[in-house]
Subunit: 175 residues, 2 copies
């Protein structure tokens, strides 16, 4: 798929998914796009766990309340290690965000739908940590995002955006 | 350009740029890709200033020490407003990182080179604020990233990455 087509077609998909399993090679290609994202000082603080085992998917989705992505057959969990790139400067959030964005676009380019679920699992009830424990993730590494991956059944809904002229200018602020 | 080709061809380009100006329509297309990135609760906390005025470029680049992108004829400055998406939760870093990643890929898809300069301008010497002041950016909005945009003259250098198997697994950590 053309790059700009992928950008335009990406939505935060919260609908139902087809029941067919997602081929491992597609999950690998999506995670490879995640690995290809840049990271501050090339620290590569982000790592990934694809989930396609049906029982494990049920177990993880059962931890999320209110529920999300109940019909998804596969997902990618995004892990971050919040280490300093230099002195006291940590770019782990930037690193995993760039990786997630690459993976959201890669999913679309391969004909899948996904969604960046972060706030929902990193809130005070700590769902991300519960998921991490199920997946055997060490305590020094945080699970910060859960991305369902699957072919969408429903029509994707596009987020309403501000006009371009309210967000982008030339040679000065609001110019 | 094919999506995966853009991902594979993106590098953090720190070489020289061609002297030809960058057409405004290309800078617009890159910033549109930035606007198309998702944001937490669709808050759209990120905005953009393209710089293609030669005097202004010189003035901004003159603020950066050690210097970067000295031969670039155009750049995009990335602005963020660190507002809460809900309660005390702010996703501004995630928002601008996703937007930057979209723009880095868009630049490559249009045949340009770029680089995510963030740490260099957000360090304790506050170069980003100095740039923001020159561009008339209000105090409640931070300039967090400076992306030169131009056709590269030098061979791009690819960052050395860890093997895929050290960063991505199936159905469990390091599985």
């Amino acid at each position: 798929m053309n790059f700009f087509e992928a950008v335009k077609n990406r939505t935060s998909y919260r609908g139902k998914f087809e029941s067919a399993p997602v081929p491992k090679e597609d999950l690998i290609e999506i995670m490879e796009a995640g690995c290809d994202a840049p990271s501050g000082c090339n620290m590569q603080t982000t790592s990934f766990i694809a989930i396609d085992d049906p029982q494990l998917m049920s177990q993880l989705l059962g931890l999320v309340n209110p529920p999300i992505a109940g019909t998804a057959k596969a997902a990618i969990a995004v892990l971050t290690e919040r280490v300093f790139a230099y002195r006291d400067k940590c770019f782990a959030v930037q690193d995993y965000s760039a990786a997630i964005q690459n993976m959201l676009l890669a999913a679309v380019a391969l004909g899948y739908q996904s969604c960046w679920y972060e706030g929902h699992i990193t809130d005070d009830d700590n769902i991300g940590r519960k998921m991490a424990d199920v997946l055997g993730v060490p305590q020094n590494i945080d699970l910060v995002c859960f991305m369902p991956i699957g072919k969408g059944v429903d029509e994707p809904k596009r987020a309403k955006k501000k006009p371009f002229g309210e967000r982008a200018w030339f040679n000065g602020y609001k110019k």
